[in-house]
């Protein structure tokens, strides 16, 4: 990747000499609109959120404007309550469950694909593209229908398989069951991207390497551990990081299906922060939770970010 970059940058030097003569201002003019966009709609809201998290900012302040400095009161309130820590634990459980399932299933599917016949492989890949193309809100609607208590096809199937306790079972009334459905939904939607990307990576590994490993007497697990995984390690790292970001900050699926309920059983950090702000009008506390969420995500991703900075700054 770095090599392609170097190749594309070098010829630019020729043009660069000319542009420098013409005045070095216009690269900045070219990026100015994008910078303005980021500044207004990314940096400013982020900064505003941090500021609000240090203020006393509730419904009154929202309507009247102006807010008093509150120091660390909001952070103290968030970190001091048991509810916040329950949400943090839930968010990490949510992220771990989803990312582990996504990575394990995707890897298995990606490793399976090359061994299939051409037609079967094409069918499986097309099926996954269909899943991938399903909009989040269509998917949440479908899953609500699949798991519907009386007419849902899942309950019908479970009863047919002999699990009679699932007759008319109301999945969405139970916290654990709703959590499990949301995990299934997110995993279902995320596997295609991860599996197809990993498969694309697999196809770049020369077959001779596998053959050499097999001649050396390596079993399938050893081939994966000694050949496939080491070569694809950067790709695995990248996909895992992306999935962590997407799952950790996931909002739409949870909000559309359960709004964090029932009884807060599916309230992860982004959902919790939004709930506090929207229904309790505690914009200050919600912002504090949001800021803490971003900090936690950064801590989790420190490895990924370090690599990105290193590569880009090299």
């Amino acid at each position: 990747m770095a090599r392609t970059l170097a190749r594309t940058v070098r010829p630019a030097l020729v043009i660069e000499a000319r542009s420098r003569r013409k005045g070095a201002l216009w690269p900045y003019l070219l990026v100015a609109p994008a910078l303005a966009g980021f500044a207004c709609l990314l940096v400013y809201p982020l900064a505003r959120s941090v500021v609000i998290s240090f203020q006393h900012f509730r419904l009154g302040e929202l309507i009247r404007g102006g807010a008093d400095f509150a120091g660390l009161a909001n952070y103290a309130e968030a970190l001091g309550g048991p509810e916040f820590w329950a949400v943090v634990r839930r968010t990490f459980l949510w992220t771990a469950a989803n990312v582990v399932l996504i990575m394990v299933i995707s890897t298995a599917v990606a490793l399976m694909l090359p061994h299939l016949g051409r037609r079967m492989r094409l069918a499986v890949m097309s099926g996954m593209v269909l899943t991938w193309a399903t909009p989040v809100l269509a998917a949440t609607t479908i899953f609500q229908w699949l798991f519907q208590s009386r007419l849902g096809v899942v309950n019908w199937l479970l009863v047919r398989l002999g699990f009679d306790s699932f007759r008319d079972y109301t999945w969405f009334a139970d916290g654990g069951a709703t959590f499990a459905i949301l995990v299934a939904l997110v995993v279902w939607q995320s596997v295609p991207f991860a599996a197809l990307t990993l498969y694309a990576g697999l196809t770049t590994i020369p077959g001779e390497l596998y053959e050499a490993a097999r001649i050396d007497g390596a079993g399938p697990w050893q081939v994966f551990g000694r050949v496939t995984f080491p070569i694809l390690r950067p790709l695995f790292g990248l996909i895992t990081s992306l999935e962590v970001i997407w799952v950790f900050t996931c909002f739409a699926q949870i909000w559309a299906i359960s709004k964090g309920g029932p009884g807060g059983a599916t309230a992860t950090l982004p959902v919790y922060a939004f709930q506090i702000a929207q229904s309790l009008h505690r914009y200050d506390l919600g912002s504090a939770v949001s800021t803490l969420t971003v900090l936690m995500l950064l801590a989790v991703l420190v490895v990924h970010l370090r690599r990105m900075f290193r590569e880009e700054a090299a």
Binding site: L30, L41, L42, L151, T197, A200, A252, W255
Partner: protein, 272 residues
């Protein structure tokens, strides 16, 4: 034996991938009596278009459809117009701060947007921009911008600079050289980039849900669909018909993109 097990596993993956979408479409075509039965039919014996008629006739359907299209198209166009010069500056020019800019774009790309719901709501309220579609357009523009810059940068870098230099030698200005030489070669890149932006904006739910709160007439399709139980009650046929109609444009876009889907997504995450 091993081959049979593999094929069985593949069939399992295929079934799990396809079944939910299949079930949505089948339900949408089934007559209501066949939906309200304890033993589901896996094939529509008597397909009907009634549910689609119900969905299309639902209050505000065309308004939401138009809103979604307007917001999405606006955001994608704006992102293209803003991203193109930036991508050019990053791919072709050397300037102090270039690395910093690229890094910022990458960071923006992985920004936790859901953490910005509350401040964006407050800012929009202060600016009297709540319940207005242009607000959503601006938000979607910025959420798709990083991806658009990164992909276009890759596409521009793939155009040999010699072509541009030749045009410059022939006396073209820089802008003219870009317009006449680079831009036509970028057409496929612009096409697939904007289609990806289209999918992102079309599907967006969180901000539409937070910013379009009072006025029914300003909702987009995802918001409408999220409240299906208010719209259709327990009419699952109409709900599934609505979901099918909502999914259709995205599916068409995916068919157009086909093979580029995977590389495009990864180009968004890895530098171009």
């Amino acid at each position: 034996m091993k081959r049979a097990a593999l094929n069985l596993a593949a069939l399992g993956v295929l079934a799990v991938s396809v079944f939910p979408v299949y079930w949505m479409v089948i339900t949408a075509f089934k007559p209501t009596v066949d939906i309200l039965t304890e033993t589901p039919a896996f094939w529509p014996a008597r397909p009907t278009l009634d549910h689609f008629a119900t969905a299309v006739r639902a209050a505000g359907f065309w308004t939401f459809w138009r809103n979604s299209l307007a917001v999405t198209a606006g955001a994608v166009l704006l992102a293209l117009v803003v991203a193109l010069p930036s991508a050019f500056a990053v791919a072709r020019l050397r300037w102090a701060g270039r690395r910093g800019f690229i890094l910022m774009v990458f960071v923006a790309q992985t920004a936790p947007w859901s953490a910005l719901l509350v401040p964006v709501y407050i800012i929009a309220r202060d600016a009297d921009m709540l319940d207005r579609l242009p607000t959503l357009t601006l938000v979607y523009f910025v959420t798709t911008l990083p991806f658009t810059i990164v992909t276009l940068r890759g596409f521009i870098a793939a155009v040999p600079p010699e072509l541009e230099e030749a045009a410059l030698m022939d006396g073209c200005g820089r802008a003219e050289a870009f317009r006449r030489v680079v831009l036509p070669l970028l057409a496929p890149g612009l096409m697939s980039t904007s289609l990806f932006g289209f999918i992102t904006a079309w599907n967006e739910f969180a901000f539409a849900n937070a910013l379009m709160i009072k006025d029914q007439g300003d909702r987009t399709l995802p918001i409408w669909l999220s409240g299906f139980s208010n719209v259709f009650g327990t009419d699952w046929g109409a709900t599934m018909a609505a979901a099918t109609l909502f999914m259709l444009p995205v599916l068409l876009v995916f068919l157009v993109l086909q093979r580029r889907v995977s590389s495009g997504m990864i180009a968004g995450a890895v530098k171009g």
